[in-house]
């Protein structure tokens, strides 16, 4: 056992005599961490920089630092390296704080936060220069040595993360553009803050406001708890589908917003895939919805069968509350029928659909999409028959519009009727105005508004979308494609969530046709 100790002691002696040469190397490695990136040593040497510092310090403590070489190194550290590093650490971090976190990295390729590592190493070397532990002392105090290593590693580990947090926090405080409460809240809450502020300024304190439900794309505006913080004492109601009309009837204001475009899935009905014509949408009053079935075509494997439906009575809804009327059009469906096409006359979009219903499972319905392609008020509803679900076929008429549709109709109107206060003039406002003019069939004015929006915010999704449609209508396919491409770039990469990708795919499909 003694022999083993003796051997270890000799090896320890060899190591401590060489540690002086490792001093600059460890310094350089720590500086690399800020010049390149945190973790570069780990990637190249497969050794964590924190572990290298701990190991170095441990051997450094066991080294006799009385000779001339060490004195020179220690003096250089104390009078040159430490002051210079500390100055650079403070100065560079201050520059980052004044601008933005990452400013120094963008311009000079330095992570000033990571400079804490060489600064800390320099402090360690200076603080522990008088400490020399020989091998026997170390053996006797093994537990203390272990605690020292653990605490040193921990302090390095938490220190570097905390530097990022502190510098990040003070970046918000020091920046000149974030001096006001509004600017600070905007930095945290983004465009939502502008919007909620807009509502706050433009409504009386005792008014009642209906807001969208908390669903995509209104995760923010739909959260009544968050909105109430900014809008209290105004009374807030959630405009959910079931009692939307009752709620809005008792409200002074309807909160209209596009929500957060980046959260939109491309299939989402609320996304303004196409600006909607305001004139088509009227308040649901008496005789509002008029539907007259014309015919139904049964598509079979070999041939089509046309059935006249003109004898069926009209399906009209005269009410300002949400109602629906159902009428059976086929008692049973021939198993050979694969799909049907229903032709109806209707005075409005989104009012007619067909659905299948079985006697055994009455609660289970499979419903077609509502009519959305107007052709002189004659709509064709295509519906694929589910072979596993044979039963009667019904026509359903409702005066309930999909909620996002109702919000969209009001966006443009409000933008037009309530001009924005200059300080709240934003890209969003111009985009909304653009939508309004587009709907009003004034593409020139619309284009002007969209371009205004784009000049304020290059990645204004709404305006890019509008410009895409205008270009498409003018047959400027290259332009349309470029707007869709820009839209694709700013939205999430996942194609399902990317309206830009969806539009490009649509264009491709159209061209192949």
């Amino acid at each position: 056992m003694n022999k083993l100790y003796r051997r270890i002691e000799i090896t320890w002696g060899h190591i401590t005599s060489k540690v002086i040469y490792f001093t600059p190397i460890v310094f350089i490695l720590t500086i690399f961490e800020s010049l390149l990136y945190y973790g570069v040593t780990q990637n190249i040497l497969h050794l964590d920089i924190k572990f290298i510092i701990v190991l170095y310090t441990f051997v450094y403590i066991g080294t006799n630092k009385e000779n001339q070489k060490w004195k020179l190194i220690l003096n250089i550290n104390k009078y040159i390296i430490f002051p210079v590093l500390l100055f650079l650490f403070i100065a560079f971090n201050y520059i980052d704080m004044r601008n933005f976190i990452g400013y120094m990295f963008t311009n000079y390729h330095i992570h000033p936060q990571n400079l804490i590592l060489p600064v800390f190493l320099s402090i360690l070397i200076e603080t522990l220069k008088g400490v020399v532990i020989n091998f026997y002392e170390l053996k006797l105090n093994f537990s203390q040595g272990l605690i020292f290593i653990v605490l040193l590693y921990s302090i390095l580990s938490v220190g570097i993360n905390s530097t990022w947090i502190i510098v990040g926090n003070f970046n918000y405080l020091v920046r000149t553009d974030l001096r006001s409460y509004d600017a600070r809240m905007k930095a945290v809450w983004g465009d939502f803050y502008d919007y909620i502020k807009f509502v706050q300024v433009n409504t009386d304190k005792n008014s009642v406001i209906t807001h969208p439900p908390q669903a995509n794309p209104w995760q923010m505006e739909g959260n009544q708890l968050v909105s109430r913080y900014f809008l209290y004492p105004r009374i807030l109601n959630s405009g959910v589908n079931s009692d939307f009309y009752d709620i809005t009837k008792n409200s002074d204001w309807l909160m209209i917003t596009n929500g957060e475009p980046k959260f939109y899935p491309a299939q989402f009905v609320g996304y303004p895939l196409k600006p909607i014509n305001l004139h088509n949408i009227k308040l649901l009053t008496e005789s509002e919805v008029k539907v007259k079935p014309i015919s139904i075509i049964l598509h079979k494997k070999n041939y089509d069968k046309n059935i006249d439906l003109s004898k069926i009575e009209d399906l009209n809804i005269n009410s300002d509350s949400v109602l629906s009327k159902n009428k059976i059009i086929l008692e049973s469906i021939d198993p050979n029928v694969t799909s049907i096409t229903l032709k109806v006359y209707a005075n409005s979009e989104n009012v007619v659909s067909v659905y299948q219903k079985t006697k055994n499972l009455p609660e289970q319905l499979i419903e077609s999409e509502s009519n959305i392609n107007p052709n002189n008020n004659v709509y064709e509803i295509n519906y694929r028959i589910d072979p596993n679900f044979s039963g009667s076929l019904y026509i359903r008429v409702t005066n309930e519009k999909p909620l996002p549709y109702l919000y969209l109709k009001a966006i443009g109107r409000i933008a037009k009727e309530k001009p924005a206060i200059p300080e709240f003039l934003s890209a969003n406002y111009y985009a909304i105005l653009g939508n309004y003019y587009y709907i009003e069939k004034e593409p020139k004015l619309a284009k002007q508004a969209y371009l205004e929006a784009l000049s304020l915010k290059q990645d204004c999704a709404e305006a890019l979308l509008g410009m895409h449609y205008i270009a498409l209508e003018n047959n400027e396919l290259t332009d349309a494609q470029s707007y869709a491409l820009r839209l694709k770039d700013i939205l999430p990469k996942d194609e399902k969530l990317n309206i830009g990708a969806y539009l490009l795919a649509n264009m491709k499909e159209e061209t192949t046709k």
Partner: protein, 448 residues
Amino acid sequence: MIGIYNILIGLIVPILLGWIFVRKISIYISNVDIFSQIAFSFLTGIGILNLIFTLNLTLGYNFSRILAFIILGITILHTILWIRNITLINLKISFFNFIKEITQNKFILATFAVMFITIIFSANWPVRDWDSIALYDFRAKIFAEGSRIENLQSDIKDIYYYRYYFVYPYLTSIAHAWSYIFHASTPLPIYAGFYSSILLLLLSLSLHRSRLGLKSLIRTNKIVYAIPLIAALTPQILSHSGIAYTNLPYATYFLAAIFPLIVFPNNSTSYFLSLFMLVSSTLTRFTEPFYLSIIAVLVYKTIKNKQYLMTILYPTILYIVRKLWMAYVVFGDELAISAIPKVISSFNLNFFMEVETYLLKHYTVNITIPLFIMLTIVFIDWIKNRKLSIEFMIFWIINLGILFMGGYFFAVQMETWKEIGGSAERMVLAFIPMLYLWSIYFFSISKS
């Protein structure tokens, strides 16, 4: 300048308010030092405000702004009387003693520097985080205008939204309201106060430990002061010092509840101080059952010291406070005891292991460093002494039981249990200061 006013209202006045009580308590607790005095003063100050105004609100009255002015008046009056009583020499001595304590070690100095930085940040930054906007700070704004949440009931159609305002007790909201009543622009210095209290308590115990003065590897025992600094820099704690969430206040009160039990002398003053802190913690976050571990430690200590009155009184008072709060909020149930037989009868070892592995992964992700430190120190202590403090064992057995068995209990009943990773990670944040406290606690003992 506004920053200084915010610090005055959110930090200094609560300390001076708490000092009225802590000054008296200090007479009965022999080893309380300046650090723990400041920390307990702040925590007592906020706790007293909470008790008074929670009572005010639960009794069915609107938040009383006049009461706030009366409390401020009493605090100012007491401070004037106190300052008049102390002579200039005494003041100088205590001031220089304080400076001496701070400057005796670079770690302490660094810890105070970080504390100072967080106070400056918090005094100039508004409340802006999701939960505080939706709940804590909103309630504070209602209180500050002399109203109460119940007055909103007729305006809120959706019962879900209305009930949400009662999910957490009022402590942090009352503390915010206190700031707003006196027109402070932000209540965030309160959170820097909680953060500083954790560090001061850890420093206080370190001071106590280092004074045992045994020789060690680096000649002095001062390395123990590195632990409060590591605590100060722990990202999870540091980031919460500028966020108006309840996690940090809860963790602080939880720490302050165990502190008198393991550090101060075993007398009823220490126990009442601990009880007050535990009541405040339960009135910060109500649902976490970790208070059981502190009750268990107390029961062990009081039975050991034959202080049977406290064995009964302490849990009873806490139970009454909890029952009163539950009676006020009407809904909510502490533990679904009825589900226990179902959980036991459907026991499945494979599922149990799957749940526990999942929980272990998520519980440890945020607390690796403090856990690592504590385990090392406790391990070394155990190697040397071959025994562990009973308080330590009781505390952790109960809490680990709650964390792991509670997690399993939840997983059996909820099909979506795999989504609780995030809340499991946040839940253990309350243990970070605790892990550091136990590290320091065993530090001196770990020397041979």
